[in-house]
Amino acid sequence: MRSAVLIGMRVLTAVATAVTGYVHADLYLNNGYRVIHVVGPGFLLLSSGAFAVAALLLIGGSPVLRLGAAAVAAGALGGFVMSRTVGVFGFTETGLQPAPQALISLISELGALALLLSWHVILLRSRPASAFTWHRWLLAPARRS
């Protein structure tokens, strides 16, 4: 049962990450974003990275891939927020423009982050108390002395 849930979460995370990649690739290819200073190459990197992580997530759920998926989602969200506040290298947008890409991307990125967090919590809870985790290592400095 637990493994079925984890596989489901892995596939859904892959789908959400692929949607983020598709939206950014579409904006890059068909909506003129590729000529925007710094933002254009950023979209290219984000979309290709998202497709790579999504494809690999269908094969396995390594922590490296989960970290990659989180970086894709957080990076896209960070860019979204900055472009509507302080700007990204002089580039700004307003609200949910361009529509509907902005909203779709926002939903997929928040969904991916929620899935990744849930996935992480499930793994932490099911791990034996003696097993090494970076969280435990970081939260228990006394044990290292």
Binding site: R34, H37, L56
Partner: protein, 315 residues
């Protein structure tokens, strides 16, 4: 696996596994990037410009805000920096189809300043030089002197349009009745309405103005009060590019089908919106002024949907 390995770090096998996943992700990212770039036909503005350099491509240059006549610590020699911009255009390695000066050619609307600008711009290696008036070009007389020097062949207060290599260019004046914001006015909006009536929705549109056609920072007058009406007229077009000066800094923004680009000046920078009490000239450290100034090259290849823009610092 040793006990020490598992207690203080990952095992060698785990490390190899993580490295393999990471390597696969990087390799796929690079491959994906190549594929997307290939689909796009190019990967960077510079490459786009190179593609557009083919036969039939439209290539033009935007220069802006030369403020000839300005004296102050922000730029001790605006004539020299304007001359440097012209030299940079002439050193592009190709002859642009036209050069557009997007306003504030002069600082004080003096005949001597207009005369000097006209003389300097005659040295630009291009078949045509077009201009848009800034508020500094119209401040004293509503643009009469500006039109005397640069108004030949224009309508109304200096607006005009033309077609070149598949692109429809519209040059608008939003500085002759500046209140808090720029204003286009009913006559000019009627002109645009009639001007684009016969164009297909696939025609790429480029609109020049001095003051931004979007609300970049209305508190400083960086916007045009009736631009919404203009954008409504242009809404049916698939690709609209609006190029402006006035704000003395490179800036880009999209709203629906329109992409707005503000250009760098050739005189001195202004503060970023809200980063100073008022939009007054910024004095940068000696030797750094040229990095705040620049020119913009734009190209368009027939069959493309968008223009390729490159902002170059003044050299």
């Amino acid at each position: 696996m040793t006990g020490e390995d598992s207690e203080h770090g990952m095992t060698r096998r785990q490390l190899m596994r993580h490295t393999a996943w990471f390597g696969a992700a990087v390799a796929l990212t690079v491959t994906g990037s190549e594929v997307i770039s290939h689909v796009a036909g190019d990967g960077s503005p510079a490459a786009a410009a190179a593609v557009a350099a083919g036969p039939g491509a439209l290539r033009f240059v935007q220069i802006s805000d030369s403020h000839l006549g300005f004296t102050g610590p922000a730029n001790l020699d605006v004539t020299a920096t304007f001359g440097a911009a012209i030299n940079q255009v002439n050193a592009l390695g190709y002859e642009p189809d036209f050069v557009m000066h997007s306003g504030d050619i002069t600082h004080l609307t003096l005949a001597s300043e207009f005369g000097q600008a006209k003389e300097m711009m005659a040295d630009i290696a291009t078949p045509r030089v077009f201009t848009v008036p800034g508020e500094h070009d119209t401040i004293n007389d509503g643009g009469k002197l500006y039109r005397k020097f640069f108004g030949a062949g224009t309508l109304g207060n200096g607006w005009f349009s033309f077609d070149i290599k598949g692109v429809h260019i519209i040059s608008l004046v939003n500085t002759t009745s500046v209140d808090a914001l720029g204003v286009l006015g009913a006559d000019q909006l009627d002109f645009v309405r009639r001007d684009v009536a016969g164009l297909s929705a696939e025609t790429p549109i480029v609109v020049f103005s001095h003051i931004p056609l979007y609300a970049m920072y209305p508190k400083w007058g960086w916007g045009t009060s009736d631009a919404v009406t203009l954008l409504g007229i242009l809404r049916r077009f698939g690709s609209v590019t609006a190029l402006n000066g006035h704000v003395h800094q490179v800036f880009a923004k999209t709203e629906g089908n329109v992409t707005f680009y503000s250009a760098a000046p050739t005189c001195y920078p202004l503060p970023q919106p809200g980063q100073a009490p008022a939009p007054l000239p910024v004095t940068v450290p000696a030797g750094e002024l040229s990095s705040a100034l620049g020119i913009r090259t734009v190209s368009f290849q027939a069959g493309s949907t968008n223009l390729a823009l490159t902002d170059e610092r003044l050299t």
